[in-house]
Symmetry: C2
Subunit: 377 residues, 2 copies
Amino acid sequence: MFKFQILYQSRKNQARIGAIITHRGVIETPVFMPVGTQGTIKTMPPEIVSSLGYNIILSNTYHLYLRPGPDIIQELGGIHKFMNWKKLILTDSGGFQVYSLSQFRKITEEGILFKSHINGTEHFFSPIMVLEIQKKLGSDILMVLDTCIPYPLSYEETKNLTELTHKWAVESFEYWQRHKNEKQAVFGIIQGGMYEDLRRYSAKFITSLEFDGYAIGGLSVGEPLETRNQMIETSLEYMPYHKPRYVMGIGTPLDIIDAVIRGIDMFDCVLPTRNARRGTVFTSKGFLSIKNASFKSDSLPLDPECECYTCRNFSRGYLRHLFHAKELLVYFLLTLHNLFYYAKLMKHIKNAIKTETLENLREEVAQYYLKNFNDSK
Amino acid sequence: MFKFQILYQSRKNQARIGAIITHRGVIETPVFMPVGTQGTIKTMPPEIVSSLGYNIILSNTYHLYLRPGPDIIQELGGIHKFMNWKKLILTDSGGFQVYSLSQFRKITEEGILFKSHINGTEHFFSPIMVLEIQKKLGSDILMVLDTCIPYPLSYEETKNLTELTHKWAVESFEYWQRHKNEKQAVFGIIQGGMYEDLRRYSAKFITSLEFDGYAIGGLSVGEPLETRNQMIETSLEYMPYHKPRYVMGIGTPLDIIDAVIRGIDMFDCVLPTRNARRGTVFTSKGFLSIKNASFKSDSLPLDPECECYTCRNFSRGYLRHLFHAKELLVYFLLTLHNLFYYAKLMKHIKNAIKTETLENLREEVAQYYLKNFNDSK
C-alpha cells in the first residue's frame, strides 16, 4: 500500500501540497527528511525528532550495510525497531556514498566494486543486491542503484554513466516485479549530469518504468545554483504529475523553495544536522556561527524569533562556551535548533502554497540565504 | 539562609536522612551530585537531569575559571542561568584539578601557581581568590581551597600539606566572615592523607572553624578500599552531628553505601557519566560493557530490570552499533541510563535507612560491585 494524492495545486506555479499514504501513516508534502546515516539522526533521541514534526527520515544503505550489517538489523526487528523510529524511513541505494566515501571503486556493467571506508574490505553492489539489502533493513521507501556523476564531466562519459543507470533501473524494476511486497515502495532515480538533453533522455527513460515515485539524482555536486534549477526544471517536464517527486541531497532553504516552486515534493539534506555540529545555525536572519568571539557574553538566544528548546533556554554566550569546550551537549542543542528551523520552514512553505504567497516567502528567505552553502562554512 | 536538619537517624548504624534547606529549595540527603565540570552534565539537557530526580549538581571552579571565566558567567546572570539549571549547584575549589590537570604547579604559603591545561597560561589561586571566583559564579555551596595530597606520600610531607590546608582554611573562614552573603554557604575540607592521626588532627582543626558543612577530601586517589573507609571513619569521629558531611569524589555504589552507613550525607563522582562515555554501564547485575561482541544482535535492553528511557526504547545491539560507529547519541543514552541507576540507588539507600535494612542493601550491591572501579575499565 503506497499512494500519493495531490491535495492542493498552486494556481501561480508548479508547487503542490500532497499526501503520501502508507501502511505506517500519512505524510504531507512538500516534506524534508533529516538524514540519519548510521541509523540515528546524529545526537537526537528519535522522540525529539518526531516532536519537531518530522514524519519521515532518510538512512543510508551503504553505511548500514557495512555496519552493523543488514542481517543484524533484520534480526533486531528491522530498521524502525532498531533505531526506535516509528514513522517512515527512506533508504538511499548507496550509489552516492560509494562515490563519495570509498577510497576505491570500479564500475562495471553488473554493479560497483568498492572498498569499505571503515576497514578497506572489498564489497560489491549490484542493482538487485541493494534492493535485497533494503528489503532486509525494512525501510518504507527504497531507492534503486544509480551511478553518481561527478561535476564537471564530459558529455560522453556522462552519457555512458546515465545509460548504465538506466540499465540498472530496468534490472531493479524487473527484480521488484517478481519480489515486491505490500509494505515497501521503490523509487527510480533520474541522472544525466548537467546536460539538458541527457537529463531529458534520463527523465523520459526512468519515468517509463512504473516506479512508485521518481527522484532527481546527481545534483548538489558543486554545480552553480542556476544549473541546478535548470536540471530540476528539465527533469520535471517528464516526471508524472501524480507521483511523488524527490530531489536528492538538497538543500539550503532557498534551494528547497526554488524546487518546491518547480513542483518537487520531497527533500533530504545533511545541512541542518552537519552545519549544527560545525557550529553554524540557521536563523530568521541568515546563518550564524556560534564560534564568533562577539558572542562571548551575549545573553540573547541563537535567534530571538525562534521558539525551539535551545532558544527558549540557552544564551549564545553559553552555547559558544560549550562549543569551544567541545561539550557534547552543544551538538544536540544546535542540531535541535536547526531541525526546528527546517521543520518551521516546511510549515511556512506549505502555508505559502495554500495562500499563494510562495514567491513572497522566496524573497524573504533569499534576503538572508542567497549565498551558496559553501559560503557559510 | 542555609540549614541542615536530620529527619531520621538509623538505630542500627550512623546513617541518617537529612534535609539541606536553602533559598533555592530543599534537598534530601544522602544525596549524590552528578558532575558538571564545564557548566554541563556532559551530554545531558538540564531538564533531563532534573527529571531523573537530581536536585543538586557539582561544577568545577578550575574549569569555569579558565573557560569561559567567572566574569563572563557573572555577566550572563550567574552559573544557574548560564547553564539553565534551576536547582542547587556546589562548586569545588579547584585544588584537586590544579593537582590532576595542570602540567605545572607550585604550592607556596600563599596559594598555588599553575599552568592552564588548555593553553599553558600561568595562573594563581589563593584561598581568597577561589572564594571570590565562586562568589562570581553564584554557586550555592562553595568549597575552600585545599591541597591535594597524593597517595602514597611520606608522613612528613603529608603533615606539611595538611597544615597548609589548615592555614588556608583559616584565611578562607576569616575572609568569609567579612564577605559572606545570605545565598551562599561555605564548606571546609578535611585532609590528612592516609595517616589516621593526621586525619584526626585535620578533622579537629577544620571543624573548629564554623563552616556551614564539612567535607572529607583527598580520598579516591588510589588507596585501598579499607584505607578509604578507615579515613572516613576517623574523620567522622570529629565531624559535628548537625552539619552536612560530604565525602568528595566518591564513588562506586558500594563506596556510597559504605560511607552512608558511617554517617556521610553528600557525594559527587564522575563515575556514572565518565563510565557511560567509555561504554560501561551500571546494571542491577553489575557492570556491563556495551562494546562486547556478544551484544551484536542482542535485543535485550542494557538492564532488563531498568525502567529508564534508554532501557525502555533501545536494545544492546543498537547501542553497541552506535558506540562502535562513534554516534554521539550513544553517549547521551548511556549517561542517562547511568544517572538513572545512581538516582535509583540513592532512593533505595534512603528507603533502606528508613526501614533499617541498609546492611541488606549493602550485601545485595556488594554481590555485583565488590570490585574496585579500576577493574571495570
